[in-house]
Symmetry: C2
Subunit: 193 residues, 2 copies
Amino acid sequence: MSSRNEITKLLTFFREINPISREAEQALTNLASLVSIKKNLDLQPTGVTCRTIYFVHSGLARIYYYKDGNEITEYFAFTNDIIVRAESLFTGKPSKKAIQAVEDTVFIGIPSAQLFQLYDLFPDIERLFRKIIESAYVDTVNRIESIQFHTAEERYKQLLSENPSMIQRIPLKHIASYLGITQVSLSRIRAIR
Amino acid sequence: MSSRNEITKLLTFFREINPISREAEQALTNLASLVSIKKNLDLQPTGVTCRTIYFVHSGLARIYYYKDGNEITEYFAFTNDIIVRAESLFTGKPSKKAIQAVEDTVFIGIPSAQLFQLYDLFPDIERLFRKIIESAYVDTVNRIESIQFHTAEERYKQLLSENPSMIQRIPLKHIASYLGITQVSLSRIRAIR
DNA sequence: CCTTTCTTTTTACATATGTTAAATAATCAG
DNA sequence: CTGATTATTTAACATATGTAAAAAGAAAGG
């Protein structure tokens, strides 16, 4: 499969969110490039300002950071999911977070500076990305509710029912920190049948 | 102060986020209207789809909902803050959440359908609101980190140092549910001097 | 295939927060 | 001002999750 075909798949996904003109699709395609990262390696390290917006083409990735010496997973991205360290991209500050391939992963990268220039030429593209962020915002608000008002056991079981493959594909230590608990707690929860 | 002057104050605030043309400002002003709500009364009830984007002109408001019969405060909005039930606005579904005035509050309301039409006429306005949502998204991601990796005591003390007036202006029961703890827990935390 | 390393589970104990109920304190309406 | 309502604190006990250390299991490299 050529690079262009891989980007076409992402454009197809974009059409469901917000259709954009053929010229706009072409402009996006010209900006986009593929990056392959082997399992457990970082796509982007901490300490650098985020200047690229990534989508997962294949594989599985995560955003993580360190808290008191412990690695915390903040987000998992599957096929077609956006993966971006928003707190750095939107503020211009160096990111304290890193992006890592959980499996061998192919990313589609779009340089943010050039994308923002396209916003001026193609309001449709700006609208597309506005809607992507709106959707991410709603997801995040819902996640706060999930964290604050469900026990770790409830959150684990919900994750298990909504996305059972995660348990197979992702080390439990990452799932534990994503759920906001220790690995020991997760193990205990899993043991209760 | 006339209604127009109150909206002018909001436009001044908008200029710092993303300047828009004079025509765009005029179009926004034409859409905007003022709503005054007395303390403890709802601006928007639950069960209805959110069709208006509000900003706080003066006073103080919150978004809340019911969880197992208990009232949970999700968000506080101060002067110039946006207050909107995003999970309903962006999905078109009825909201399970309500907006309430914590003090006598003046809101500036912008009907979402008409605002979205303005996006077509004035890409600057769409950009302004994209940036507002991006900023809200970053705030929300940071809040997840705060909830997951700080104790309730740490979160209370941070809130106290960042925004001490909240403790005076808002009943502690609302602050407790905002922090994700019971009022009893908050009281205990406060007692430790 | 074996050794090393990484991941997951188990155990024992510590602690933060929840639950329920009652006591105080503050606010509000008449 | 006064009684009623609402908000806040306190107490006693229950429970979920954290911490530390060790054991067991799985994966990876030579």
